[in-house]
C-alpha cells in the first residue's frame, strides 16, 4: 500500500515539477514581452503632449461611470476629484447602488442635485431605477439612484443612462490620475474601428500623500502586507497583463479603471450582473462574441499608472478579497468552458483561457498538493532532504526573479519609487512573500473552490480608509 502511495506521490511530484518549470518559463516570457511593450510605449509618447487630443475636431466624448454603495464617508471627495479630470468632453455618472447609509443624501447636498424626469433607453435590464438627478451647478454630473443589485448591475444602469460613445468604468473609491482619460482614450482615437477596450496599470495608494484628490507623493507603505501586495500588483500588471496583451490574450481589464466602446458592450448585453468577477467576464465575453463574428478588434493595455486603489492591510479583508477574486475566476472559466481549448476561439480558446485555467485557477490546488506530498514524505521518512532543500530554494529564487523583474519593469515604465531604499524594501518584500504569505493566499484560494461548490456568491467586506482632501497616513 505504502509502495503504491510512494509511486503515486512520486508521479505527482514529477508533474508538479514540470508545472513549476512551465509557469516560471511562461511568466519569464511575459516579462520579456512587457519590456518590449514598455519600450514601445515610451516611444509612443515621445515629443507629444497628451493635450493634443483637445485639438482633435472629432474627439470621442467619454461617460465615466462610478458605482457607489455605502460610501458616505468618501463619496463627495471622490466625485470632486473626478470633476478635475482632464478631457475635452466627458460626463460623470454616479450610480448609487441602493446604499443603506447617507451616500445619496451627501451627494444631493454637496452638488445640489435635483430629481429629474430624464428619459433613457433601458437597453440592458437592471434593478429598478428610483430616480435620476442632475446638478444645475455642474452639468457634467448625473446621479442615478437605484435599488441594490451589485456592481455589475449598477454599471449597466449607468450604461443605459450614459450619452457618449466611450465609457470608463471606475471604482468610486479609487484615485484616478488627472490625465488618465487622455491616456486611456488615445488608443480609441488612433485605431477607432478596432479598439474595443483599454486597460491600464492600477497601483496601491496606501500611505501615499494625497492632495486635492490626487497622488502628490508616492510613499512606501509601512505595513509589510501592503508592501508585498505592491510587488504582487507590479507583477500582475506590468509583468503579466502587459505581456498577455502583446499576444492578444489580455482577458482582464481591472474593474477599478477600464475604458470600452459603448456600442460593442451594449451589443453583448453589458455586464453580467450575476458575475463575481464582472470585469473579467465582460472582456472574455467581448472577445468570444467578436471572434464568433469574425470581427477585427483589439483590447489594449496602457502601461501607465492611471489609477490608485487601497490594498487591504488586514489579513481578514485580504482573505475576503482573494477569495472573491478566485471565485470570480472560477465562475468566468466555468461560464465560458465551451471555448476552453477550442481552436475556433483562436488565441483566446487555445492559449489565453487555458493559461488562466491551468496557471491561475489551478495553481493554488497544485501548490497545496505539493505541500501535502512533502508532508507525506516527511512522515514516512522518505524525503530526500538535500533535494527538497534545493527545490525549495529554487522556488524562492524563481519567485524572486519574477518579483525583481517586475520591479525592473517599474523602473522602465514609471520609476515611482525614486529612493534606493524603497527598491530594497520591495526586493525584501518579494523575498518574504515566499515565506508564509504565498502559502496563506494559496490556502485561501483553495477554500474558494469549496465556497463555489457550496454556491457562495457574496462579495464579502472591503473596508478602506478612504482619502479626504489632504491626508498623510
Amino acid at each position: 500500500m505504502q509502495k503504491l502511495l510512494n509511486d503515486l506521490f512520486t508521479f505527482l511530484s514529477n508533474g508538479i515539477l514540470l508545472y513549476f518549470f512551465a509557469i516560471n518559463i511562461l511568466y519569464a516570457l511575459f516579462i520579456v514581452l512587457s519590456v518590449i511593450g514598455i519600450i514601445r510605449h515610451t516611444t509612443l509618447l515621445k515629443y507629444v503632449t497628451l493635450k493634443d487630443m483637445f485639438a482633435q475636431p472629432l474627439v470621442k466624448p467619454v461617460s465615466v461611470i462610478a458605482p457607489a454603495h455605502n460610501e458616505e464617508a468618501t463619496v463627495v471627495d471622490n466625485v470632486r476629484s473626478l470633476l478635475g479630470l482632464e478631457y475635452p468632453v466627458f460626463e460623470i455618472i454616479i450610480v448609487n447602488d441602493g446604499s443603506s447609509d447617507q451616500t445619496l443624501e451627501r451627494l444631493i447636498q454637496a452638488f445640489h442635485f435635483r430629481k429629474t424626469k430624464r428619459v433613457f433607453r433601458k437597453v440592458i435590464p437592471t434593478k429598478p431605477v428610483r430616480g435620476i438627478y442632475l446638478s444645475p451647478h455642474e452639468p457634467r454630473l448625473v446621479l442615478v439612484d437605484k435599488e441594490n443589485g451589485r456592481k455589475a448591475d449598477a454599471l449597466n444602469a449607468g450604461l443605459n443612462v450614459s450619452r457618449y460613445p466611450l465609457f470608463c468604468a471606475i471604482d468610486c473609491d479609487s484615485i484616478i490620475d488627472r490625465d488618465a482619460l487622455l491616456k486611456m482614450a488615445r488608443p480609441f482615437h488612433e485605431d477607432p474601428d478596432r479598439t474595443v477596450g483599454v486597460g491600464g496599470v492600477v497601483r496601491l495608494s496606501n500611505d501615499c500623500l494625497i492632495k486635492n484628490g490626487q497622488i502628490e507623493n508616492v510613499n512606501m507603505p509601512r505595513s509589510w502586507l501592503a508592501r508585498i501586495q505592491i510587488v504582487e500588483y507590479l507583477r500582475a500588471f506590468l509583468g503579466s497583463r502587459l505581456g498577455l496583451s502583446k499576444i492578444g490574450s489580455l482577458l482582464i481589464i481591472s474593474g477599478a479603471f477600464g475604458m470600452f466602446r459603448k456600442d460593442v458592450v451594449m451589443q453583448v448585453g453589458g455586464y453580467d450582473h450575476k458575475a463575481i468577477g464582472e470585469d473579467m467576464e465582460l472582456v472574455v465575453r467581448l472577445t468570444r462574441v467578436l471572434r464568433e463574428r469574425k470581427a477585427r478588434f483589439r483590447i489594449k493595455f496602457v502601461p501607465d499608472t492611471l489609477c490608485w486603489t487601497e490594498a487591504p492591510e488586514s489579513w481578514k479583508i485580504l482573505k475576503s478579497q482573494r477569495n472573491r477574486w478566485q471565485r470570480g475566476l472560477i465562475q468566468v472559466l466555468q461560464a465560458h468552458k465551451k471555448i476552453l481549448f477550442n481552436p475556433r476561439a483562436g488565441v483566446t480558446g487555445l492559449f489565453a483561457l487555458p493559461f488562466y485555467f491551468v496557471f491561475e485557477m489551478l495553481s493554488p490546488l497544485i501548490e497545496l498538493t505539493g505541500y501535502v506530498i512533502l508532508l507525506y514524505f516527511v512522515v514516512v521518512n522518505g524525503v530526500n532532504t538535500p533535494f527538497a532543500i534545493k527545490l525549495f530554494i529554487l522556488a524562492i529564487v524563481a519567485g524572486m526573479f519574477l518579483s525583481l523583474s517586475a520591479i525592473l519593469l517599474e523602473e522602465y515604465a514609471d520609476r515611482k519609487f525614486p529612493l534606493f531604499r524603497d527598491v530594497l524594501i520591495l526586493f525584501t518584500a518579494g523575498l518574504i512573500e515566499n515565506l508564509g504569505y504565498r502559502q496563506y493566499i494559496a490556502a485561501v484560494r483553495v477554500k474558494s473552490f469549496i465556497d463555489v461548490i457550496r454556491g457562495q456568491t457574496g462579495w464579502g467586506t472591503m473596508q478602506r480608509k478612504g482619502f479626504s482632501s489632504e491626508k498623510k497616513t
Binding site: T43, L44, K46, D52, N384, F401, L404
Partner: protein
C-alpha cells in the same frame, strides 16, 4: 525526472541566483547611469538652448549654420531643445528653428520614414510634422497606411502644415485611397478650414463610391462650407443611408434657411437614423415652420428620434418650449409625454443655471 532535477538543480539554482543578483545590480547601475546621463543631458540642453536663443533674433545665416554644425553631434538633445522651443515661439523665430532642423536632422528623419523600425518611423513622422515643409507631405501621406499610432501621428503632422499645397496632396491621396479613413481625412481638412472648400467641391463632383461621398459631405458640414450647399442637396435622395445621414447632419451645420424643406422630407425618411439626424438639424435652423415636424418626431417609435426632437425643440427657444408644454399636457402617447416633460425640465434647468 527527479534524478534529472537532482543533477541539474544546483546549476539551475546557481544560474537563477546569478541572474537575480545581476538584475539587482542592473537596477542599481541603471539608476546611477540615468542620474549621470540626466546631468549631462541637462547641461547640454542649457548650452544648446542658450546658443539657439541667441540666434533666434538674428538673420545672420552664418550664425545659424555655425550652431547647426556645432550641435549636430548631439541629435537627441538638439531635438529636445528644438521641440521645446517650437512650442513657444512663433513667426520668424519658428523659421530659424526649422532652418536649424533642416541643416541637422531632416535628412536622417526622411530616411527614417521608410525604416523597418516602428519607433524610428513614428518619431520621424512626428518631428517632420513639427519642422519640415509641405514638400514632405507625400512621404507623410504614405504613413496613413502604417500602424495606427503612426497613422495618428501622420494625421496630426499633415494637419499642422499651414499651407494650401498640402491639400492638393491630401485630396489626391483621398481619391486614390480605396478605403479612406473618415477620422484621418476630416481631421486634416477641418484643420485647414475654408481653404479646403474648393477641393471638396471638385472632388464631390466626381463619380465616387457612396462611402467617399459621405466623407466629403461630412467635411463640408464640419468647415462649415456654405457655398457647397447646392452640391450637398443633390445627395438628399441618395439610395445610400450613410450618405443621407451625412446630408442631414451637414445641413444642420450649414444652417441655410432654404434647407427647411429638404430636412423636413429627410425627417420622414424610412430609416430612423436619417430621421433622427434630420430632426436634430431642423432645430438648428430655428424656423417656427419646423415646429410641427419636430412635434411629430416626439411621437416616433425610435427613442433616438424622440430624444433628438426634444433637443431640437429646446434649440428653438420659447416657441419650442411652448410646443413641448402643449404636447406634455395634451398627448395620449406616454412616450412623447415623458420626453416632452424631460425637455421642459431641461429648459428650466438651463434657465436656473
Amino acid at each position: 525526472m527527479t534524478d534529472f532535477i537532482y543533477d541539474w538543480a544546483p546549476r539551475i539554482l546557481l544560474g537563477f541566483g546569478v541572474f537575480v543578483l545581476g538584475l539587482w545590480l542592473f537596477i542599481v547601475l541603471r539608476r546611477i547611469r540615468l542620474i549621470y546621463h540626466e546631468k549631462i543631458f541637462t547641461a547640454r540642453f542649457k548650452l544648446i538652448e542658450q546658443d539657439i536663443i541667441s540666434v533666434l533674433y538674428t538673420t545672420n545665416e552664418k550664425d545659424i549654420a555655425r550652431i547647426a554644425v556645432k550641435y549636430r553631434r548631439w541629435p537627441g538633445v538638439l531635438t529636445a531643445v528644438l521641440v521645446n522651443l517650437i512650442r513657444i515661439v512663433g513667426g520668424e523665430e519658428k523659421i530659424i528653428l526649422k532652418t536649424i532642423f533642416a541643416l541637422t536632422l531632416r535628412d536622417d528623419l526622411i530616411a527614417d520614414l521608410e525604416s523597418g523600425d516602428y519607433r524610428r518611423r513614428l518619431i520621424a513622422t512626428r518631428l517632420l510634422g513639427m519642422f519640415a515643409d509641405p514638400a514632405n507631405v507625400p512621404a507623410l501621406l504614405k504613413r496613413l497606411r502604417d500602424k495606427p499610432s503612426i497613422q495618428f501621428a501622420a494625421v496630426n503632422s499633415i494637419a499642422g502644415f499651414p499651407d494650401e499645397r498640402v491639400l492638393d496632396f491630401v485630396f489626391r491621396a483621398f481619391e486614390a485611397d480605396p478605403n479612406p479613413n473618415i477620422h484621418h481625412f476630416t481631421d486634416i481638412v477641418s484643420k485647414h478650414g475654408m481653404a479646403s472648400e474648393s477641393y471638396i467641391r471638385d472632388m464631390i463632383r466626381k463619380p465616387l463610391p457612396p462611402m467617399k461621398i459621405a466623407i466629403l459631405i461630412e467635411m463640408a458640414g464640419l468647415l462649415p462650407a456654405r457655398s457647397l450647399y447646392p452640391e450637398i442637396i443633390v445627395f438628399a435622395a441618395h439610395p445610400d443611408t450613410e450618405v443621407r445621414i451625412r446630408v442631414a447632419r451637414a445641413l444642420g451645420r450649414l444652417m441655410i434657411p432654404d434647407s427647411l424643406e429638404i430636412l423636413s422630407s429627410l425627417a420622414d425618411d424610412p430609416e430612423w437614423a436619417v430621421e433622427a439626424q434630420a430632426v436634430r438639424s431642423l432645430g438648428r435652423l430655428n424656423n417656427p415652420a419646423a415646429l410641427d415636424v419636430l412635434a411629430r418626431g416626439l411621437h416616433s417609435l425610435s427613442w433616438y428620434v424622440r430624444s433628438n426632437a426634444k433637443d431640437a425643440l429646446l434649440d428653438m427657444g420659447m416657441d419650442g418650449v411652448r410646443k413641448l408644454k402643449e404636447i406634455s399636457e395634451t398627448t395620449q402617447d406616454p412616450f412623447a409625454a415623458d420626453m416632452a416633460e424631460m425637455g421642459l425640465e431641461e429648459a428650466e434647468g438651463l434657465r436656473s443655471a
